[in-house]
C-alpha cells in the first residue's frame, strides 16, 4: 500500500512483517524512531515478539547473539558510537555465523560528537564479516530489510542494512508498504543451521587454535563469495514477488558511454543523479554508479560497470567517511577491483580515480557543490583527494593557532568560536 511515511516508520513496518522473534535495542539518535515503533507494535500485541530494552549496545548485540543461537529470528538497530560500543559482539556474531539483521542509521563517529549523517560508523565495521547493504531511498531501506533476513538466513551470516541517518530515517517520502502475506511468501520461517537444543546438545563458541583457525576464518570469506550470488538472487526474487527493483549489488545510471562516472553509496545518489541529468543536458557525458552492496565488495559488477567503455576518463568516488592517513575507503576497493592481477587484465586503465570526501557529520551535499566539483574534474583541477566545501580559512586559523602556542586549546571549540557558534571565552 502506498503511503507518505517517515523512513523509520517504513522500516519498522517492514521489519515487523518479517516476524522477528526477539528484538533488542538501546536508543541512539537517529535510530530511535525505528525501535520505538517496533516496541509499540509489540506492546499493543500487533507483533508477537520478545522486546528487550537493553542496557547498552554491547548488550543489544549480545542478546541478539543468544537469541539467534537459540534458533530465533533476531533484530537490532544502532548507529555511530553504539555500533562501536558493540563492535566486539559484531565480530563475534559474524564469527559464529549467526543470521542477525541490524539496521545501522548511519551517523558520524566522534570525537567531536556529532549526531548527523555520514558513513563512518558502518565503514568502521567493514572487516567484521557482516554483509553491508546501503539504501538509496526509504523504499529501498524497507525493501532491503526484507531481503536481508532472507540473505542472512540462507548464508548463516549477519547482515547490516545501512540507511542515512536523518536523511532517510527522519524524512517523509512515498513508500509502498507490502502486505503481510506477500512478505510471508517471500520470507519463510527461520530454519537454523546450528541451534542450542537440549534434545540435541552442541557446544558453540569453542576456542580454536592455530591448527584450525585459518580454516574456520576461510569460511567467512567463502560465505562472502556465496553472498555475491545470493544477494542478486534475493533481489531478483524480490522483484518478482513485489514488482519493483531494489537491492542487488550495484546500480549503474547513464554509465554506458560516460567519460566521467561518479561512484557513491546511500541517499546522496538521488542528488547526484539530478546533478548528472542537468550536466547531461548540457552535453557532459557523465554517469553514476551506486554501490548497494559494499560487503562483499562486488568486484565483478564494478569491473563490468566501470570497465566496459574505453572512453571513461575519470572516476570520482564520493565518500561519506574519512580514513585519516590514507585516501578513500571505497576508493581503495574500487582501485582493487579495477587493478590487474595474474590472469585478470586491468579495467579502465586509462581512467583517473579521485576521492571526494563529502557530507561528513551531516554537511549537506548540494547540486551546486557537485557541479563545481565536476567542473574541476573536467578541467583537470581535481586532485587525488578533495574535501568538498572545505572552509580552508577556518582550518588555517586553527593551524596558525597551533603553530603559535603549545597550549592552543581544544581545536573543535576554537573553530566553533571562530564561527560564532559557542560563547566567547570567559576572561
Amino acid at each position: 500500500m502506498l503511503r507518505q511515511i517517515e523512513g523509520s516508520q517504513a522500516v519498522a513496518a517492514a521489519v515487523a512483517m518479517c516476524r522477528p522473534e526477539v528484538i533488542c535495542a538501546y536508543p541512539i539518535t537517529p535510530q530511535t524512531h525505528i525501535v520505538e515503533a517496533l516496541g509499540a507494535k509489540v506492546k499493543k500485541g500487533e507483533l508477537n515478539a520478545e522486546f528487550l530494552n537493553v542496557e547498552s549496545e554491547f548488550a543489544a548485540m549480545s542478546v541478539a547473539i543468544g537469541a539467534s543461537a537459540a534458533g530465533a529470528r533476531a533484530y537490532t538497530a544502532t548507529a555511530s558510537q553504539g555500533l562501536l560500543y558493540m563492535s566486539e559482539a559484531v565480530y563475534n556474531a559474524a564469527g559464529l555465523g549467526l543470521p542477525i539483521v541490524m539496521t545501522v542509521a548511519n551517523r558520524a563517529i566522534g570525537a567531536p560528537i556529532n549526531i548527523w549523517n555520514d558513513h563512518s560508523d558502518a565503514m568502521s565495521q567493514r572487516d567484521a564479516g557482516w554483509i553491508q547493504l546501503y539504501a538509496e531511498t526509504s523504499q529501498e531501506a524497507l525493501d532491503l530489510h526484507i531481503q536481508a533476513f532472507k540473505i542472512a538466513e540462507e548464508l548463516a551470516n549477519p547482515v547490516m542494512v545501512c540507511m542515512d541517518g536523518f536523511l532517510l530515517t527522519h524524512a517523509s517520502e512515498r513508500a509502498d508498504i507490502p502486505a503481510q502475506d506477500q512478505v510471508d511468501r517471500f520470507l519463510p520461517p527461520y530454519v537454523p543451521r546450528q541451534m542450542l537444543d537440549p534434545a540435541d546438545p552442541v557446544s558453540i563458541g569453542a576456542m580454536v587454535g592455530p591448527e584450525a583457525f585459518t580454516e574456520v576464518r576461510y569460511l567467512a570469506q567463502a560465505r562472502m563469495q556465496q553472498a555475491l550470488e545470493v544477494i542478486p538472487s534475493a533481489a531478483a526474487g524480490f522483484s518478482m514477488a513485489f514488482g519493483r527493483s531494489s537491492g542487488g549489488l550495484v546500480r549503474p545510471y547513464l554509465t554506458g558511454d560516460a567519460e566521467i562516472i561518479v561512484v557513491a553509496l546511500g541517499s546522496v545518489l538521488g542528488t547526484v543523479k539530478d546533478t548528472v541529468d542537468e550536466l547531461r543536458a548540457e552535453g557532459m557525458r557523465i554517469g553514476v554508479l551506486g554501490i548497494t552492496t559494499f560487503r562483499p565488495f562486488p568486484v565483478l559488477a564494478v569491473r563490468e560497470a566501470l570497465g566496459t567503455d574505453s572512453r571513461l576518463r575519470r572516476i570520482v568516488v564520493l565518500e561519506r567517511a574519512l580514513a585519516p592517513g590514507t585516501d578513500g575507503i571505497v576508493t581503495a576497493d574500487i582501485r582493487m577491483a579495477l587493478a590487474a592481477s595474474d590472469g585478470r587484465p586491468p579495467r579502465a586503465p586509462d581512467a583517473l580515480v579521485s576521492t571526494v570526501v563529502a557530507g561528513l557529520g551531516g554537511r549537506a551535499i548540494t547540486r551546486k557543490s557537485l557541479r563545481a566539483m565536476l567542473a574541476d574534474t573536467v578541467s583537470g583541477r581535481l586532485g587525488p583527494l578533495t574535501f568538498l566545501d572545505l572552509d580552508t580559512s577556518l582550518v588555517s586559523r586553527e593551524l596558525d593557532r597551533m603553530r603559535a602556542a603549545r597550549r592552543s586549546g581544544p581545536s573543535a571549540e576554537n573553530m566553533l568560536r571562530d564561527l560564532g557558534i559557542t560563547a566567547s571565552r570567559v576572561s
Partner: protein, 351 residues
C-alpha cells in the same frame, strides 16, 4: 566389643553419597545417572575448584530441570579448559560468546525460548569473577533489572586466573596477584576496594541470591536446585579455590574453601527479594590466619615477619561478616540437616 567413633558428618550433611542414606536423600553427585554436564577429559588444573563447582552446580540444575537446560559461558578458565578445539567436555547445549556479555547472551537465549513457547527449557549463564564482577557487571545488572529468566552462576576464584592471575574486583584485600604484587608498604591488593556482588544482586531485589562453596556439596546442590524453583533473575556466587592462583595445595581445595567459610571471610547465605532468609552458621570458628596460611598469595603476611596490623584488618572483615550475617548464632531446627535414616536390620558394617 570394638567400637568405631562415627563423626556426625559421616552420616549427615557432608557425605557425598552415603549408603547409610536412603537414595532420595543422597547427593546428585552420588548418583550413577547424574548428568556429568561437565564430563571428564577437560584440561583444568589438578585440584581446580571451578571445575568441581561447575560440575556440582550444573548437575544439580540438570536434575532439577530434567535435562532441559541451555548453558551460556563467559570467556575464562572454565570456557577455555572445557572446550579445547576440537573437543568439548560439555554434555549440554552450550554457548560461549564473549568475556563481558554472558548475562546478556543468556537473556537473549531466554527470550528466544519464550518467543518459541519453550519456556520449559531453562537458561544458566555462568562465568568467573572477572567476567561477572568487572567486565560483565553492566550486562549482569541489566539482566537483574529486567528480571530475565536466567540463573547466573559466578565461579569466584578471586582473580583473572586464565590470563595469569591478575587482580579483579573480587580479589580480597592483601592478596598477592600479578598486578597487586606483595611489595611496598601495603603489599598485595589494596584495602577498601572490591565489590560484593551478592549484595549488589540483593540490591536489585531479584527473587533469589545465594552464596556457596565447593566445601559443602549438599548445600551447593540444594541452592542450585532451589534457584530453579524461581522464575526471573537469580544469582549464585560460588567460592572456588584456585590452587595455581592462590598457591594452595591441589589436594586442599575443599579444605581451603571450608576454612574460608569457617573463618567468616566467605559468608554462606541465601536471600530472596533482597532480604537474607538463611545463613549457614559457622560450625567451628577459626582465626583468619588458619585460612591465610594455606595460600602462598598471603605468604607475605607471615614471612619474613608476621604483618600483624594487616592480619588484624583481615580479621576485622571476617568479624564484620560474622556479625552482619549472624554466623555464630546457634543452629536451630530450621537448619537443613539430613535426617538420620531409620535403623535397618540388614545393614552391613560395624560388626
Amino acid at each position: 566389643m570394638p567400637y568405631q567413633r562415627i563423626k556426625f558428618y559421616q552420616t549427615g550433611s557432608f557425605a557425598a553419597g552415603n549408603r547409610l542414606l536412603s537414595p532420595e536423600l543422597r547427593s546428585v553427585q552420588s548418583l550413577a545417572q547424574r548428568s556429568n554436564t561437565l564430563t571428564c577429559g577437560h584440561r583444568a588444573c589438578q585440584g581446580c575448584g571451578e571445575a568441581l563447582g561447575a560440575r556440582y552446580a550444573l548437575d544439580a540444575v540438570m536434575r532439577a530441570t530434567k535435562g532441559k537446560m541451555i548453558a551460556v559461558n563467559a570467556t575464562g578458565c572454565l570456557e577455555v579448559f572445557s572446550t579445547p578445539f576440537p573437543e568439548t567436555s560439555w554434555q549440554v547445549a552450550w554457548l560461549h560468546s564473549l568475556f563481558g556479555n554472558a548475562p546478556a547472551v543468556a537473556s537473549g537465549v531466554a527470550a528466544a525460548l519464550r518467543a518459541k513457547g519453550r519456556a520449559d527449557i531453562r537458561v544458566v549463564g555462568q562465568g568467573g569473577d572477572g567476567g561477572t564482577v568487572d567486565i560483565g557487571m553492566a550486562c549482569l545488572s541489566g539482566m537483574f533489572e529486567r528480571g530475565d529468566d536466567v540463573l547466573y552462576i559466578c565461579y569466584d576464584n578471586q582473580a583473572y586466573m586464565n590470563t595469569g592471575v591478575q587482580r579483579s574486583g573480587a580479589t580480597p584485600p592483601a592478596a598477592r596477584t600479578a598486578t597487586t604484587p606483595a611489595v611496598g608498604e601495603e603489599p598485595g591488593n589494596t584495602f577498601g576496594q572490591g565489590k560484593n556482588v551478592p549484595l549488589i544482586a540483593m540490591a536489585h531485589e531479584i527473587p533469589y541470591v545465594a552464596t556457596a562453596t565447593v566445601a559443602d556439596l549438599r548445600d551447593l546442590e540444594y541452592k542450585a536446585a532451589r534457584a530453579m524453583d524461581f522464575r526471573g533473575a537469580r544469582y549464585l556466587h560460588i567460592l572456588v579455590p584456585c590452587p595455581l592462583g592462590w598457591g594452595s595445595a591441589p589436594a586442599d581445595t575443599i579444605k581451603v574453601a571450608r576454612l574460608a567459610t569457617e573463618s567468616g571471610l566467605f559468608p554462606v547465605f541465601e536471600a530472596e527479594d533482597g532480604e537474607v532468609v538463611s545463613a549457614t552458621p559457622i560450625r567451628h570458628r577459626v582465626p583468619v590466619t588458619d585460612y591465610l596460611r594455606t595460600q602462598a598469595r598471603y605468604a607475605h603476611l607471615f614471612r619474613p615477619a608476621e604483618r600483624t596490623r594487616i592480619i588484624a584488618r583481615v580479621q576485622a572483615a571476617a568479624d564484620r561478616n560474622i556479625a552482619r550475617f549472624g554466623l555464630l548464632e546457634s543452629p536451630d531446627d530450621s537448619e537443613r540437616v539430613v535426617p538420620a535414616p531409620p535403623a535397618r536390620a540388614h545393614h552391613a558394617g560395624g560388626r
